[in-house]
Structures are given as C-alpha cells and as structure tokens.
Amino acid sequence: MNAPVLMFALPLLTAFLLPVIDRLSGLAGRWIGPLVLVGNLLLGALAWPHLQDAPLVLAMGGFRPPLGIVFYVDRMAMLFAMGVALGVLLLWPAWAQDKDRVRISTLTMVLVTATTGLALSGDLFNLFVCYELAAISSYGLAAAGGSAAAGAATLRYMVISSFGSALMLIGIALVYQATGTLNLAQLAVLSDALAGPQGLIAFIFILLGAGVKAELFPVNAWVPEVYGAAAQRVAGILAGIVSKLALLIIVRLLVLVFRQPEAQQILLVLGVLGVITGELAAWRAQDLTRMLACSSIGQLGVMFVAFSIPGPAGVFAGLAVALHHMLVKPALFLLAERWGGALTRLPGAAQKSPLAAACFVLLALSLVGIPPLPGFWAKFLVVTAALGQGTPAYAGAVAVILAAAVIEASYLARVAAHLYRRVTQPLSANRQTRAAVTVATCASAALVSATLWLAPLGNSLQVTAAQAADRDSYIHNVFPQGVQP
C-alpha cells in the first residue's frame, strides 16, 4: 500500500514536467494539474479504508526508521493531504490568470507537494524541507499577480518568513543536539531529553518559525497585507490550507515530543492573543479582504487554544475547527475576489448575485458558530474541552473565544447587511464569477450535509483525533520490534 507516496511524488513530478507538457499541448498544460489533484483525491480515498485500524508507516527506499525518510500516514495526515488536494483543486489559481498559467501551475504543484509532505512526513528534517518548499512556492504565488503592491507585500512576507525559517532551523538543531535524531517516533522515545529549558527553547523557536505560516501571534503581521494584495485564490489557499499544515507540525510536536506544560501554556497564551488582536482588527476593517484576513488570524488563534489542550479532546476540538475553517475560509476569499475592496461598494450585491450572497451569509453564520451549523459544534468542542481543564487560564480563554464570537457576529452581520441593502441606482457592486459561485455553493452544500450527517462525521473525527493523540501507538507503529537505543 504505497499510494500515499504517490500523493507526494505525482505533484512533484508534474511540477517539473509542466513547462514541457504545456509546450507540447496547451490543453494538456491547462488540465494536467487539476487532473493530478483529482488523482491525489482518488489515491487518498483508496488508501482511507486501510487506515481504519492502524496507520501506515512507509519507509522510503526500504531504509528502516530511524535511518531513512519515513512517511507516517494516519487518518489525520490523510485527512489533511486530501484537504490540500481538494482545496487547491477548487481554488486552482491558474484558472484566474491564463497568461501566466505555466508559472502559476508549476508553483501551485510545488505547493501541493510541499503541503502534502507536511501532512505525511514522519521526521523533522523532511518537515523542514517541505516547509521551506511551501514557503518559496507561496512567495512566487503571492507575487504572481504582478502588481507593485503584491510585490512589496511579498517581499516583506519573504523577509519575515526567512527569519522564521532560520529560527525553526535553530530549533531543529537544538533538538538534534539534545537527542541525536530527527525521526519523530525516536524523538518521542527520547522526549525526556527535551523536558528541560533547552527543549523549551527549541519548541519556542520551532513554534515561532512554523507560526509565521500558521498565522501565530505575534509573527503574523504580514497576513492582512499579503492577503489583501495577492490574488484572492492564493489568499484562500494560504489562509485555508497552508496555515493548517503549518499548524499540523506544531500539533505533532506537541503530542509526541514537547510534553512539558510550559509548551502548552505558551501556545494557549499566543492563541488567545491571536484571537483578541485578530478579531478586534477585523471588527474595524473597512475592506472585505482585510476583514477576512484578520478573522482568519482569530480563527487560527482558536485552533491554537484548542491544540494547547492536552489529550485527545483538545486534538478533536482543534481538528474540528481546522477542518471547518479549511472549508469555509477559501470559499469566502473566493467570493471576495469580486466583492473585495471597500465595504461601502457592496450594497446591491445581493440583487446582482443572490445565490452568492446567500452562500456568503451561510458560510459567515457557520464561521461565527451559529447552531446547528458545523462551526457551532467545532466551537462547542473547544469550549467544553477547555473548560474541562478546570484551570483559570483555560476558563479565561473560553471567555475570550465567546466574546470574540460576539465581535465576529457583529462585523460579519454588518457585511451581510451591506450585501442585502437595496439600491436603485446603477449598482457599484460587481457580479460574482461563475467559479466563485460554484465553489461557494459547494462549500455551503458541504456545510449543510455536514450538519445533516453530523453524528457519523463527529464519530469518525473523534477516532481520527484519538489516533493522532496516541503517542504510544505512534512509537509502536514506527518501531514494531521495539526501539533500538
């Protein structure tokens, strides 16, 4: 069962071959990328039944861990790998810019490779390589719009991200110095060596490094500017997908390696600060794109809070929020492609594109966490899991998350009111593109069906979370014969 490796290898191969293929046939060049993504989805669907009981551990080239490169494919990893394929497929950036399609498609395929690798990799070295690959391809994509603003924003993003990568590398070096290995399972075995201050510093460095992409406060200041300047499809991919995969690194490390309570506390505090600053900044935003970007910071903050809760309950809650956001935010960004800019230009939009406006409202309601939509259940899981910790810090975090929901409701309802304001003069609002309406409708339909089939989905996700939070089985799966010291 080596299909998951193909999910990594196929996009990589396509990325290299794409310029050649496009030279041979423009039609093939246009469609090969989406086709590969569909293939990835199929591969994932084929592999999914094999993950029900135990995760797959794939050693590249037959080199047994801890020596070789290892892919650890559990349900959580596969879920995110498929999420990447689906999300990028729906937001395929080259469809919006046919002129630059070869360059953009190539970069997108590299990004898919990197993010899939982030989901599947079982060692820190590989994770770092994939993270860098994702970073570089996202610079290219963010700047691909060609506007001066996009260029300037991307340059700043690049500088921040490079410093972040440097920090992450230092953190990984510290880990290696303390343990002599970068394989996650072996690190899990040796985690006692990282229980001291050196381990904590290593964690903070890796956290800040990965946090740049995961929109972690305070290294997320690039977010509104880049999302505002880049193509909305790219913003959707960065906010919806890349951020979650960067988050996944932190989750794996927290579960397996850094088990000191200080690590969780740091994540909790930074998460809460992210919620506060993100939502407050979004509240005053006068521009839809900027509002969505800031709201995404707030949502990521909620995820950090969730993942800072020890045990399967925290992972369950965090996964629920992450998957929900992965579904909702890209669709909202895609709608902002035509509705971006000042909010005051929105009135009349619902008259021009009624379906899109209805989808926007539904997605926004779920984002706020209005029952019975899935966003509510995700938030409810976070709230109960956090209160279950019984400490004042977590109770405070719950208060912040709930207060943030009020602010969120306030600004999203304001947007909805703008959308539905009737105007009689020539309308300034743009009509939605067919692609945006399609994606938004799909996302809304997915939300509604998730609401209807909440029970099986919830149970399945709970099993996934339990599997991901089970440290002993991770070690056992990678080293079935026990650990060689």
């Binding site: 200041a221 509510f376 259940w377 929901a405 306030s410």
Partner: protein, 625 residues
Amino acid sequence: MTPLDALLALSLVTLLLTLSCRHQVWCGVLTTLLYGVQLMALLFMSTSIHYGVPVPSGVHFNVLGFEMHWAMTPLAWFFALITLGAAVASSWYASTSWGRHYAATGGSPGLLQVALACNVVSMLLLLCSADLLGLFISWELVSWASFLLMASAGGAAVRHALHYLVYAVAGGMAVLAGIALVYVATGSLSFDAFVASLSGLSAGRLWLLLLLFGGGFAVKMGLLPLHLWQARAYADTPGPGSAFLGAISSRMGLFGILLVLVQLAGLARFAGLVLPLTPFTALDLLAWVAAFTIILPTFTALRQTDARRLLAWHGIGQGGYMLLGVVMGDALGSAGGLMHVFNHATYQAALFFSVSAVVYRTGTSDLDQLGGLVTRMPISFTAMLIGIIGLAGLPPMNGFVSKWLIYQSLIREGHPLLFIAAVIGTLGTILSVYKLIHNMFLGQLRVEHEHIREAPWSMTLPMILLSAVVFATGYLPGLVLRWIAPVQRELGLPVLDYTLGGYQSTAGSLDMIWVVTSMLGGFAIGAVLFYAGGRARRVHQLDNYAGGHFLDAATRYQYSYNFYPALTRLAAPLYRDSFQWLESALVSMLQLASAGAQGIYRSVHPSLYLLAAAVIAWLVWGGGH
C-alpha cells in the same frame, strides 16, 4: 407521530410554503390560515396539558453523544398559545391591504411573512426543547429569526437590528458558557443532570450560573441594564412585525428564566444565595432588577415623541412586572406574572395595530404631527382605548387583573418598597398612555388629515378581535387562569385557587364579574343621563373657538409637543441616560482596542523585529558558547 410532531411539521410546512410563494398576493392569507391550523393543533393538546401531562415528540437525535428531544409541557403550551395567536393576528393584519401598501412604499411583504414564519418555527422549537442543547440551538435560531424580522425593512431598521444582534449574540454566548459549565460538571446536557449538578455547587459557582443563564436570557427580555437595543429595534420593524415582536418575542427571555431558573434550579436555591457583603439575596437582586426595569423604561416611554417607540419602551417596562410577579414565588404573584405575559401580548398587539393603522393612513407615527383622529378612525381609536386601559392596568381590562395579583402578592410577601416601585411604574404608564391617545386621536384635527378614512377591514378585524380578548379576559380572568394553574404546578410553585371571575382564597379574593358589571352599570346610568338630559349640537371638528375667539384650522390651540414638561424636568436629573453613556463608553473602549489591534497588523515591522532579534540573540549567545 404525536400531536407535537404534527404541530412542528405544520409549522415547518408553513415556513416552506411561505418561502416558495412569498411573491404571490395571496401569500399572507395562506399563512394566516396555516397559523390558524397550527393554533388548532395546539388547542388539540389542551386536555392533556390541562392535566399537566406533557406531550412528547417522537423525534429525537443523538449527536456527538448528546441526546436531543422535545416535549410540549404546560409552560411551553402557554407560551406557544400566545406565539401562535400573535402570529395569526400579525399575519392577518399584514395579509392584504397593509401588505399592498407596504409593497408600494418599497417594502417586501413576502420577506416579512417569511421572517415571521422563521420566528414561529424557531420559537416553537425553543418552547418544546427538553434538553439544554436543544434549548441553546433554538435560542440562537430565535435570535437570528428576530434579526431577520427587524432588518426586513432595510434602512435605519438594519442599524438597529445590528445593534440588537450584538446584544443577542452576547446573551447567547453567556448561555452557551453556562451550558458548557453544566456539561463539564455532569457530562450530560439533560435537564435532570443539570438539576442533579446544582445540589453540590458552591455559592460562587451558583452565582456564576445565575449570571450566565439569567444574564443571557435577560438580554432578550430587555431587563436593565441590557435593554438599550429593544425599543428602537422593535419600533422600526414594519407594523405587524413590531406587533408580533412586542407581543411575544421578548417574552422568550422570560420563558428561559422560568424554565432554567425557576423550574430546574428552583427559586428557593436563590433565596439562600447571599450577595457578598450585603444583606441581599440573589432573589432580592432579581426583584430589584425587575423593579428598575419597570420604572426607568416607563419614564423613558413618557418622553418619546414617536408612538411606536413609546409602545416599545412600555414593552420593556411591562416585562419587569412579569419577572417581579414570578420572583415573588407565591401563588398570587406568579399567577399574576404569568398572566401578564398573555395580557400584555393581547393589548400590546392591539396597540401596535392601532398605531400602524394610523401610520397606514397618515404616513407618520410622530406624536407631534397627529391629533383629532377619533372621528376619522373610530375603530382604531376604540382599539387603542381598550389597549391603553389594559396597558395602564385599569379595570375592566385584563391588564388590571394581572397587576392586581402582583400588587397583592407584593404586599402579602412584605415588600412595600417593591410595591411602591410597581405603583410608580403604573403611574408613569397612565400618564404616558394618555399622551399617546391624546396626541393621536383627541384634540385638534390637522387640516391635512381631514379626509382620512378608517383603515380597511383586514386591519381593523384583528384589532377588534384582540380588543375583545383584552376585555373578555379582564371580565372573566378565569379563562386565562385555568391555563396558568398547570404551569404553576409544573414550575413547582403554589397554585392559585382561581374562579371564573378571579380568585378565591382565605386571605382575599377578586371577582371581576362583579367589579366589571357594577362599573358598566355606572357607565350605563351616566350615559342615560347624558343622552336623556343634555342638549348637544354636533359641529365640525375644525369649527372651534378658544378664549372667545374663533380659531381657523391653521392655528394650533392644542399642543402635543413637549408634553409633561414639568414631570420630565423633575425626572431628568435622576436618570441622565446613564445606560446610553455606559454603552457608548464600552464601545469607545473597544474601538480604541481595535485601533490598537489594527496598528499591530498595519505594518509588518513588529513581527520582523521580533524574529530578527530572536535570531541575532541566539547567534550571539550561541556563538559565545
């Protein structure tokens, strides 16, 4: 399929039908009929409810380990009756003439009907929830359905609806926090688990739960200090919508309080909960919140110059009576509080209908721009007269009975100060409703209103019916009290010994049949004397004189502007809009914080410096080793 399933399914079908035929002219008629059918389905359950047997629903879900089910209890039935009654009346009122007029002035009657149907479905779901999760979900649905109804008019109404929404979501989140606390403590969200978890709680935890649940529900009810949103949001809702909201929507908050704090937690628990460093208990706190909710909004209503705002402010104030009665916890007070929910719904809807009829004909509800319409719109005038007598709590209307019960209870339970507060509220109400009817229907007719006719029958009939109910249930309060007895039993409160004309107990009794009959007899004698003895000559309404001078129509001899200036001057220093001030201070603080947060994300430098400093510090420090 149980009767409750049938009712809920009917309600859902109503919503779907309204949604699919909202553009048709007969949509309003259809929905009115459908609400009527729902009302029938509800009355079909009345026997079972009367004996205190809940009607369960056959539908239940198990979601993520939470069991969700529904049942119609006597409490739910009582509120559902008012909800559906208000829906029938409002939908009827909006159905033909008013709807056409609304459409002609740029509104969308179809959207209004859809919003109304959403409200009814979500309210029925809320009332029938039999677990905390279902309660919260439908609570949020009710909040957003109200938002839809308020915002359906567009324009300034949207601004007020957004204002409401912030309060509503905040209240919802408080309830959610309370529910999550219960869940963490018990691992279940059933009512039984909630009750069981309460017994071992520390005082601090109990206060927290009281504040979260009570505060959350209080928002919808508009209890002080969470009332600022209500008047503007309700008043700007299009006519029948405001009647529906004013009649029942805000009472959902009282329902929440009754269910969670009275039935599940029990008032006795809060009577033993002492506010730290004071002699007051939590129950005293609730009672005084109710008392201030009576007084301040009533005197704010007095100062309004818009008829709809005035009524909406009274709606907040009357909510205070209901809570005050219930908090007393005895048979009289709780019966009075519960009965006032019904009574208020009937006269408030009639009053809003009457005002809307005037708006329909004159285009304004500004009290400074009206007057003298009594001969032009006699039915609307009569409806308003009956309504304001009910609102002021005077015999022979139903508002008198419920307030009388509450006064009796306040005196018996030994709360003279609360009694005085309630009486002050009633005094303010009388003054302000006089201003209402005087400025609209009495006094000098305006020239531009000379050719105004009465509103059409589709609007006056609901008014007449409601007025008839206001009078009938004032004459025979036993009609309502017999529904309240099972509710009291279910809530665990002492049950009032009611009779058809009132109540009968060892300490006292009330027989409205006697009171009203003798009152009407007195009026009859007066009328006979008036018509038999006096010589009257009919003159045109604009044919007037004052101080020996003839007045032409352009001279205003009767003013409506700046009504009760002395009283307003007297009361103003006691209440300097402090809640408005508090709210705007909070918003300003939030804006400041928001500007700060935006500052963080305006430039990328902070992140950059942080990261750069970390890297360089590490290189220096690491290089040193």
